[in-house]
Amino acid sequence: MNRIVRFASSDRLLPLVGVFGLIAIWYIGYWSRIVDPVLLPPPHAALKALWNGFTGGRLLYDFWQTVIRTFAATAVAGIIAIPLGIVLGSSERIYRSVEFVVDFFRSTPASALFPLFLVIFGVGNATKIYVASFGAALVILFNVAYGVMNARKTRILAARVMGASRWRVMKDVILMESLPQTFVGLRNGVSLALVIVVVAEMFIGSVDGLGFRVFEAQQLFDMPDMYAAIFAAGALGYGLNILFLMIEKSFVHWSGK
């Protein structure tokens, strides 16, 4: 959050230094022929492909497909994980008993779970969303539960001494207290969901999406298109992060203060 603010307010042009540096290195790599130019096209070719792809080309469509899947996955994950996280977090003993399983699956590379999900949910579009949901849900669950467990004791006492019932303490205090952490979870969750969606689009068969575009451009040996799709994926990841930071900032305005 801090970083965005600073980014926006001061030294606005500094990030461009890094961007131009990167492009310069790329041009050097291109001109020096270290890598075959067919494999590494010049930056302007990739940028042109990006531009064309977004203005009239199919890239825009694929971009939206990936966005939709990522949001769907995050939504499903949130709907399942937030209530569950609250329940788990409200009792330390319950949380301890499932913590190992949650941590175990969080540590399992999601790609290794693709076969499992294919088996359970079948091969449709839904599977890509579910497997991404699964990964994101674990992250969200973990954060929500921690948010609930680490609710400031003093605020709970303050509500209790004012005569709040258990239910009101839960609703008015613990829930609000866990919100900042929940948003952190959502932000990490959406990033993870994107990663999984792209991998799934690349490797478990799809007819659209950015992962598919990378895959197809690669199969068709269309390198500028491939780099354009890679950049679109990067930009999407970056944009989602900023978007969620902004939502977080306006929604849990008190976070970190």
Partner: protein, 297 residues
């Protein structure tokens, strides 16, 4: 009637595309509901899970393996043959290296199409050519990387599949020096028919809607007939439906499609030989009787 088909977007699925585009299925009152599924395992999983009724192309080794786990899950209605004429799998060599036969690959770095079936076939071919284990380095590599890898010179040679070989030729990065690898290695003759893949439907489909399955097969048969009669027109349909660059679509080789009902005694025997070979190399855990899994109407 709806038929749910798993589509692997490669040239071997051509009858499906032709059948749809030329309306052969529509003529049979069949509506195709296609799901794109890359590779055998998702197709097999979907067939076992009864999520699809048919797979546009299923490598026979994978199909038979599935039949070992759950008998009758993959019943072939048409099969494809690959050999020196109907090129599919082939050995290519990077431009600049002079290699004439497999025996020359001694000490070279070789890539293979991915999956145990492909790797063991490549290995068997190399061993059959007189090379010994340890005299070559064989790594499997995702198909999408084959052209890159040849271009970048990471490997000297490769056991690759179409349309990659055509693309390499077109780009001038590699040339084919041995086609019909399976036919030669397994059947002893590069021009024999190696029944490597085919269109499979599930027993569940056949049992629950026998009449629909029959019409689906009929539509498929018409498409096969059309391809065999008008190959040049048919291959146009590769363009939209498979990952074939448009500049090579006219030159990329096709496999030979044959309906199961048209197989000769010899063809079935060759088929059995091919499957037995996989059992021998350990890719298949047990022996399979091929004829049990051929579906005729």
């Amino acid at each position: 009637d709806k038929v749910r088909v798993g589509v692997f977007p490669v040239s071997s699925s051509l009858p499906l595309f032709v059948g749809i585009e030329k309306g052969f299925f529509k003529d049979q009152n069949i509506e195709i509901e296609a799901t794109r599924l890359i590779g055998g395992p998702p197709n097999v999983a979907a067939m076992i899970g009864n999520q699809i009724d048919a797979s546009s192309v299923l490598v026979t080794i994978e199909g038979m393996n599935a039949n070992l786990k759950k008998p009758g899950v993959a019943m072939y209605i048409s099969v494809n043959s690959q050999n020196a004429k109907y090129e599919m799998e082939q050995f290519v060599v990077r431009k600049g290296l002079t290699i004439k036969s497999l025996a020359d690959l001694k000490g070279k770095k070789i890539m293979s199409a991915p999956g145990p079936a492909n790797v063991s076939m490549a290995r068997a071919a190399l061993l059959a050519a007189g090379l010994k284990e340890g005299e070559f380095q064989l790594d499997q590599l995702d198909m999408g990387q084959h052209v890159n890898a040849m271009k970048a010179g990471t490997f000297d040679a490769g056991y690759t599949l179409e349309p990659n070989a055509t693309m390499m030729k077109k780009l001038g990065v590699a040339t084919t020096f041995e086609a019909g690898v399976i036919a030669r290695t397994v059947l002893g003759n590069p021009n024999a028919n190696a029944w490597v893949g085919g269109c499979a439907i599930t027993t569940e489909f056949v049992k629950s809607r026998p009449e629909v399955a029959k019409r689906f097969t009929a539509g498929w048969g018409q498409a096969v007939k059309f391809i065999n009669e008008h190959p040049d027109e048919a291959r146009k349909y590769l363009l939209k439906n498979t990952l074939t660059p448009d500049d090579i679509v006219d030159t990329v080789p096709l496999v030979k499609f044959v309906m199961v009902s048209d197989l000769t005694q010899k063809d079935v025997a060759d088929f059995q030989t091919f499957i037995d070979f996989s059992t021998k190399t350990g890719v298949l855990p047990e022996k399979v009787d091929v004829s049990k899994y051929l579906q005729k109407f």
